[in-house]
Each structure stands twice: as structure tokens, then as C-alpha cells.
Symmetry: C2
Subunit: 583 residues, 2 copies
Amino acid sequence: MILDKVQNPDDLKKLSIEEMNTLADEMRGLIIKKVNTTGGHMGPNLGILEATIAYHYVFNSPKDQIVFDVSHQCYPHKILTGRKEGFTDPDKYLKYTGYTAPEESEHDLFKVGHTSTAASLACGLAKARDLKGETYNVSAIVGDGSLSGGEALEGLDNAAALKSNIIIFINDNDMSIAENHGGLYENLKLLRDTEGKAECNFFKSLGFEYFYVKEGNNIEKLVETFKQVKDTKCPTVVHLNTQKGHGLKVAEENREAFHWILPGTLDKTGNVPVECPESYTSVTLDYILNKAKEDKTFIAVNAATPGVFGFSPDFRTKLGKQYTDVGIAEEHAVAYSSALAKGGAKPLLALMSSFVQRTYDQLSQDLCLNNSPITMLIYWGGISGQDCTHLCIFDIPLISNIPNMVYLAPTNKEEYLAMLEYAYKQNEHPVAIRVPNVELDSTGVKDDTDYSVLNKFKVVEQGDKVAIIGLGNFFNLAKNVKEEIKKRFGIDATLINPRFITGVDKELLENLKSTHKVVITLEDGVIDGGFGEKVTRFYGNSDMKVLNYGAEKEFTDRVPAEELYKRYHLTPELIAEDIKNLL
Amino acid sequence: MILDKVQNPDDLKKLSIEEMNTLADEMRGLIIKKVNTTGGHMGPNLGILEATIAYHYVFNSPKDQIVFDVSHQCYPHKILTGRKEGFTDPDKYLKYTGYTAPEESEHDLFKVGHTSTAASLACGLAKARDLKGETYNVSAIVGDGSLSGGEALEGLDNAAALKSNIIIFINDNDMSIAENHGGLYENLKLLRDTEGKAECNFFKSLGFEYFYVKEGNNIEKLVETFKQVKDTKCPTVVHLNTQKGHGLKVAEENREAFHWILPGTLDKTGNVPVECPESYTSVTLDYILNKAKEDKTFIAVNAATPGVFGFSPDFRTKLGKQYTDVGIAEEHAVAYSSALAKGGAKPLLALMSSFVQRTYDQLSQDLCLNNSPITMLIYWGGISGQDCTHLCIFDIPLISNIPNMVYLAPTNKEEYLAMLEYAYKQNEHPVAIRVPNVELDSTGVKDDTDYSVLNKFKVVEQGDKVAIIGLGNFFNLAKNVKEEIKKRFGIDATLINPRFITGVDKELLENLKSTHKVVITLEDGVIDGGFGEKVTRFYGNSDMKVLNYGAEKEFTDRVPAEELYKRYHLTPELIAEDIKNLL
């Protein structure tokens, strides 16, 4: 194999174009096999393979610096920069992260997993180089989908004004995770259609020098252009027309499905319809479709991650005009939804916990200050074994400390549906719901709670001495803690489902004082700034002992959830042990 | 006066162009007089006066809807929509806010005070209109300075793809608060220079229909173009070449100084040099200039609000290459600074508390996850009588719950300088400093604390029974509370200066248990998710009584600080009263 000769980018420089083509084939095979085994980003990495080889052939990493946007297109880069064992040796498939990671290699500059950051980051690297009086190339590689994010646009605007060497490679495979949305994409299409010759050019309008590579998966052509732009003295865009999933037919033809795949996807034959059990996802899809039918102003909004919510192409087609994917543009998604409500429509905005981070000020100013009655669904919130860039534990502090917001945490299907209906009907507040990130639970009994009476906690089982407040995902943990306490101490603890994240039920908490000594709060997220601390604050001037459980304030990286539960004492046994001395 | 005949926009429609020109002169006089009396945004409002008259002449507000970006250019709009008494009657000068406010008028759609939001908001209004099957015009008016913000760019990208009526008026006065920064502004210049005819057109590249008005302060010309675009069926940009401060010579010539002015600015004659006492601002300016001299990689960064930090044109010139104003682009500012540090430079990023809200995800992902050692200065943090859109009370929950961040709160000049030096020298963490928003205090004794030992609180005076932890701005309040407690209860309370916002000093708090019954925390910001709750959580399983003081979670609107201090019990007397029963 040619790859045997390549330990680092310098080795590439000895290869001929033909050898590099062979190398690309070898790498493609490795990536396909590895990703099909472990799961991961298939389409983006196959699309950028040749450009990565060409980059490392022409430029001199790590002296020349390159920043990967999202960095989910860095697998070929990892193979070429000393980490090929992560692709050749199945035992080491999980040794390296799926994103760039400076602790793995000097060829990686940043940990990146959220989109639209590379132009800004490259800008800083380039300016630092200039301040130091040095002269190397600083590049960013940005997917077309990432271009619609505010940070990317701010970054490009500033990069264009840098008056110095900075090269932005646009990896244009005509696709975000799903299809692209936004006027900008018409311009990319025009540029592709005219082979980069159209005068009306988004990048030129910002002031970039502009180069177009028609065959973005052709190493020879790529090398030719890269040589032209290397050592440029001015901000330059190189627009690469690449093919998502290049070289894997099924990925080329199913670009959305093969953006990121589960293990074993390629081994399945045919389209076996899967019987899915009812889940919070399926309940939500049914709710949306029904509501859209009965109310023509009802509209579902999301920001480029329809798959997270199960918004399939078929589902989107059914919704028609009552569906907006704003592209990667979470800030716009929130402001847009606020204004939809102000304009008399009924928006439901779905966001993933990790990505709601991209829009704090819009939540505060565009939405909450204006008290626009939207429904916002937050998915995937909770402790998991995720990569450090996709932790979903910060949404509670982020959302719940903004005035006017009502943030709810259902614990079963009926509560969830009642909350959705409340959010839809009311006109008082923005209402966010943390969609449970656990298996669906159903009581079978309709929930007729009036959620417009804010911050009313629900006592599920009245007991004494100890009260356990189990928020959302962790209500089941609360039940288990109750059992453990019964078993170990013979105490019938009170079990509380708070339902509201954004405030405490002062009356209920006050009443607990007379018959309880200890209150435990459980939340599936970081404790700092979260729900439990509000309960503790309430009891600050009293004799009540309060213990808050949740995640510690830290970035964890692919640490299994089970291990984190132990670390954070999120098991009935460890919690019982903690309170032993307080009883 | 013509204005006597104008109660609402309908009355405008009966006027001739000549009468409207006279009306503009009348309104200009009123705005100048009022703003010079109360302080406020002078330049932006004088620049947009004629366009506002033309808008209301051609369009039918409130059926036709218009969203003002930032809304600090809405004074003429207020005069024409039933609120002229706020400009004609000095007794009512303060009756209306300086921003759009739906509770004041049906002609105002949103409360807006942060920039770059109007395109997104208009997009939502337009889509709501389409869902309802109605047909009115939806417009946004966006200043050129606001265009560089990510939310604006996301909004424009989406607006351009709307396939329906939406009109974006670009109020291009070739000026942000200070000068503009970014490649986009070269394109605006090209468009102005070619009277809108250049093929390379940022707005067209996004897919907008494009109109240019050369004389943006000429009502007749404006009316002409506005009539052309009214009822358009497709996304349209109308690029208005206006003059900031139009009609007031001193404002036309001093565009930055007259963007927003203090009361009485026009009454001063000549340039009387003012002798300014030493302040945290002046100390910071000296620090930056000195550091920039001794380290060529030291660089000061800000996002379009140099005036907030006292970064005068002269100061900026002195820094030269070691200064970056990224324009209104806070997300980019954070990512850029993180990468500057990664690239080996020493960035100091200055942001105002209210505007750091615009960049949570970049703080988390680009900065803290990568642990880039930057210095970040947060200005104006604290409770004030500000407008609801510019409250500076949310930065502590926002910043301090992000892992890896070190957020510091100095209480005097020497601490501040020591913290600056620590932040500069260390390579471990992003370090944010909450620049005190109070008069400068100086001990005269160099602070030699080693701040790399994180979360060490300082006992300033050792006492017993009661411990008062006074954070940053509120350290003086803590001193006063101590005195009050001495006076009323004869207790020598312990006085603590925590200095660190991002964590608690567990050892010190533990030690307090043996000799103290009550701990009081004081922070100049919202309590929810803030500093005090962390202290309370620490004591949750103990007998210590803890009371947290700070702002309640609410948006207040121009409520005087004194009144808020009473509301939140932030006076020595009210606090002493609160703890009476706990002693």
C-alpha cells in the first residue's frame, strides 16, 4: 500500500499524482470500513478526501496552519498526520476522536464540533502570525452548510478585511446535513454553474480573491490551484466543487442519510421497514402533523438538524409551507420564531441542547424580553457519553435564568402532551420544553394540569423526613432513590415531580419544612446555575438540609454515562450513602 | 407648524413634498433640542429622519409593519406615531423610551436595543403574514453598522430566500458607532461610488432585488423609490445613502462623538480639556498602552463599542496594528481572540456586560473548551437604571457556569492590576475580569496575590457569627453591612472579598462553620444561576444559614438603581433586618 509510506504530510511530497490517486482509494476504503464499524461522519469525509491529500501535498503542516470547520471532515487529515492506526487497526478505531483534537497531534489546532467557527479562528491565527512578524499560510476549510451560521459570516467579513495571508477553502458539496437553505446557496449554485465566472459573487463582494476548482475530487486539479494560492498576500477564497460521499455510490445517492451513519449501515440490504416503538420523538411528530392540519398558522422551525427530531424528508414534505429549516442559523431561528408569534402564527422551534448554546442573546432579547408565545423543544438534554463538543448538559443554566421564560420538564407522555397543548394555547410567555431523553413512559391517564399556574411542583407520593425532587429525565432516578431510602433507612420519602425548571414552588417547599429534614434535587445537567441551586437558595435561611445532584461543571470527552453517574453520585446507593449522616 | 397637523401617519398622506420638507426641519429642531436636554442617540436619528417621513407617507403603518434594528433610530418614527409630546413637551421628554416599545404604540412591533435583529424579525412577521394568507408589507430598517452582526447576516440570508414580500431598508451612513470594519463595507462603498450599479453586489449575491437611493435625506427621491418597492412580491433591499447627523453641522462633522451624546453637549463651546480623575477606565487604558509597548504580540480587541472602554481615536491610533475592532461581531471577537492566543499572541478582549450575551457558544466552544489564555474585560456589569434592552446583570450566570473559565471580580485598583498581570502571564485558562462599575478605590499597596491558585477568597476582617461575602462592586456594600450589624447587634462580622466568581473557596467556607451561624452573599447582578447560589449549595448539608443578595430575575426598564436596591434589599438596613431572626 502507498499508505505504508506515509507517516506524516512530508511523506506525501515524494509521491506522484498517480500514487496520490491510489492513496486516495486506499484511504477511502479504510474510512468506509471504519465508519461503517464505529458509526460516524461518512459523506463529509469522503467528499474532502482528495482535497485533504492535495492540501498536505502543497502546504507544510504544522508550520502552515489549517482549521477545520466543525471538524467532522478531518478523518483523511488524521490518517495523513500520524494517526492512521485509528483507521487501519480495528482495535484502535476508538483511540482518536471524530473531531480535531490538539492533544492528539500538533497538526490539529482546536477542538471543534460546533459549526461555522473556522473563518474566525483562522483570522486569529493569521493576525497572531502577523504580530509575531512571521510568514506561513493560515487556512480554514469550511463546508457550504456551515456558511449560513452567523459566526461564519462574521468571520468571513473580518477575514476579507485582513490585508494579509488567509485562505478559506469552501468545501461546496451542495449540501448541509440536510439540504441547504438561504439565498447564499443560490449564489453558490450560480458560481458552480458558471464555473466560478459569475460577476455576482458573494465572496468577491466581501473582498476576497476568488478561485474556483470545478473538479474538487481531482487531486491533480486541486494541487494546481493550491499551488497558485499558496503564500498569497491577501484574503483568498478557494471554492471547491466536491461531491459528498464521493466514491461510495450509496452515499453519493443518499447524501442526507449518509452524512452521519450508525454502525453497520452498509451491511443492511434493502429497505427493511423498521417497526419503531412509540417514543417522545414519534409522539412529537404526530403532535406536529395534527396541529398543522387543524391550524394553518402552526409552523415547525429548526436549524439544519431535522434528523435530530425525526423530521424526515417525507415529514417535511407533508408540512409544506408550515415548515422552515433556516439552515445553520440558530440565532435567526429564535428571532424568526419570536416574530412568527408576534405576527399571529404559532411557531414550534426544535433545537438540540448543545446547539441552543448558539443563541443566548436572541433568547433573551428577541424572544423573552418581548415575551413572544412560542413553543421551543429542547432535545437530547442530559448527561451522556458524548464527545466534548456535543455535551448536552448546559441548557438548564443557559435557558432557565432568563426572565419571562417558562422551561418545563415532563416525565411522561401525558404530561408532555399537556405541556405542548399549554404552550400552544397560551399567549403569555415563551415556553420551552425539555423533551425527555429517556424511554417513553405513559400513565394512560390524561394530564389535566393547568400549566399556566407557574412553578407548581407535583407531590407524587407524600412521605416524610426526606423529599426527593426528580426533574424530568431524573424522575425515575428519584423513584429509585426513594426505594433505596426505604430499604436502607425504613423512611417513606416524599417524591416530587417539579415539572417547572424556571422557578420553585415556594408554598410547597415551605410546607415541607415541618415534616422533612432533607431535600434532594436531581437534575440531568450541570448543577452550577441550574435548577437545584434555586431550591437550596430557598432553604438558605432554614434548618432544611439540601443536596443538589447533577453533573459537575466540566467538559468531559466520550466518558461513558455510567462512569459519569458514578463520578457525580447519581445512583440510588451513592445518594443514600451521602444522606446517611443527615438523617 | 406642520407638525400640529400630524397626529399619526395617515395625516402625512395629505401633505405635499414641500410641506414634508418643512416638517422634517421642524422635527429636526425638536430632536436636537430634546436629545441635547436628555442625552440620547443624535446622529442616527437625524440621519434617518427624511426616510422615516417618506416611509410613513408611502406605507400604511400599522397594517404595513416595520422593524427597527437596534431601534435607536426610531425618534422620528415616534414623533409621527402619536408620541410627539415626548419631543415637544420638555415635561414629557422622559415619558417614552429611546427604543421601540410595543406597549407605547401599535406602530412598534418589538422591544429592541441590541443590534442586527431586524431582518430576522421581519422574516418571521412576513412568514406569519403568508401563513395567514394576508398581504401587507413587512419591512426592516437596518443600519450599515448592524450588518456585520451574525444574526443580521443569518437573517438576510434567510430573508432573501423567502420568495415573498419583505423589504430591507439599509440605512447606510457609512458609520457604525465608530467607523465600520469588515470586507462588506468596501462593497457598500463600491455601491455608493457606482450609485448602486456595480455588478459585484453583496445583496444581489444573496438573491435580493436591489434599489439604490443616492440622496437618502431627500424626501422626494425617497418617496419615489419607496413607491416602486411597495407591494413587491419578492425580497428587496433598498440601499439608502444617508448622512449621519444630517442637518446638524457639528454632528455631521463629528459622527462618532455625536452617535450618542450626554445632556448639554451642544451647549459646550470649544474643546475644553477635562481633567478626569483616575478611574478603572483610565487605569485600563494605561495598562494596555504600556503592555502593547513592551510586548508586540499584545493586542486589544473589541466589537464596535470602543467608546464604552474609552478607546478614543487617539488611543486606537497609538495601538496601530495592536488593535482590532471587529465591528458588531461579538461571536467573531471571541473566536478570533481564542485563536490569537493559540497562535502565540496576547489578546485582551473588551466587551460590555449586556453584549457579552451575544456570544455564549463561542465562549464555551471556541474559547473555554480550548482553554485559550486570553484576557477578557467585562464592563458595566451591575444593577443600574438602564433601559430593559441594556441591563448588565446577566453576565455572571452567563460566563461563570462555563467550565475552564476563570472569572474575577476585583475590588480596588491594586487587585485589578494584579489580576490583569496574572491574566496576561498565565497560559492555563481564559480569564475574564469584571471591571468594577464603581468609583476607583486604591489601597496604595501592591497586591501580590498569586491568582493562579484558583478560588481563594480573602478574609479582609476576621470576626465571628456572621460572614459577609461582598463580590466586586458590592464589596463596599459588604463593609457597610458589617458596620450596620455591629451597630445593631454588636456583632463583629467577618468580611470576605471572594475575588473569584467561578468557584468557591471550600476550605475557607468549611472553616467558617465552627464560629459562624450566618453567611451573606452580595453580588451586583441577577442571583439566579449566579455566585451566591454556589456558596449556598456548599452549605446545603450543614447548619449554616445563607442569604443570597442580588437582583431578581426580571427585565426592568429605566427603574432607578436606588429603587432597585430597595426592591432587592440591597441596603445595610434591610439586610440587617433580614438577618435579625437568624442570630
